[in-house]
Subunit: 137 residues, 2 copies
């Protein structure tokens, strides 16, 4: 039997806190590859890897941050969410301190205060995800 | 680029209510295929299908019930959770009325009051999932 299911991915909403534990904003990356634009950091889950471990690995690879998971926000699986193929993403809210540094698929990684998020520049369904996150805060 | 990710599945904790909206119990199926034993109804997500639609389709196929989704309980992705290959399961809590009838991969589908669940007969990580569900009730 040849089983085919959507590709499994993870994305992280990283809440950055300063040394006095004040919330500064969340991290968005400028993508190096198509589709170009701003995005939440994230990537594919490897076979043999738990989604929580994939999340921590991808956050480290793309933003250089060590994150602590707060909760699962949801699973986003609309077949049209990625123009390349069908992906289903486990989106986690997590926290970190320090400054992000863009690496790997991220040309740049920057902190955005919630009121400064340029929603119109977000790719995939990341604007919808961030609206859900802000509504649930 | 050949992308390989875990197989994506869904499982449902179906809460059954009677005609007076009293909670009767949850549905477990007797599996027809290996691994044999009791399990939550569930199955693979198809490419092109949202996880919520896969959940409703699988519940219908295996228990004949039309379910309404209440919430996502979590994503279970331990690589050892399925002895056959690596699966990641989106587990939903849902509700339905009526009597389940086992079909497809389910030899039988029955309602179990929470205090009657035979945890030792559950396959995969379904005992862990049901403990998480009961703790969060």
């Amino acid at each position: 039997m040849a089983i085919k299911t959507p590709y499994l991915t993870v994305d992280g909403i990283i809440k950055i806190f300063d040394e006095k534990d004040r919330f500064r904003g969340i991290v968005l990356i400028e993508r190096k590859n198509e589709p170009l634009g701003l995005a939440l950091p994230g990537g594919f889950v490897d076979v043999g890897e738990r989604v929580e471990d994939a999340l921590k690995r991808e956050m480290k690879e793309e933003t250089s941050l060590e994150v602590e998971i707060i909760k699962l926000l949801g699973v986003y699986s609309d077949p049209r969410r990625d123009p390349r193929f069908h992906t289903a993403s486990c989106v986690f809210v997590c926290r970190a301190t320090g400054e992000p540094v863009g690496m790997d698929d991220a040309k740049e990684a920057k902190i955005y205060a919630l009121e400064e998020i340029p929603f119109e520049r977000l790719v995939f369904d990341h604007a919808e995800i961030l609206h859900d996150f802000i509504e649930g805060m």
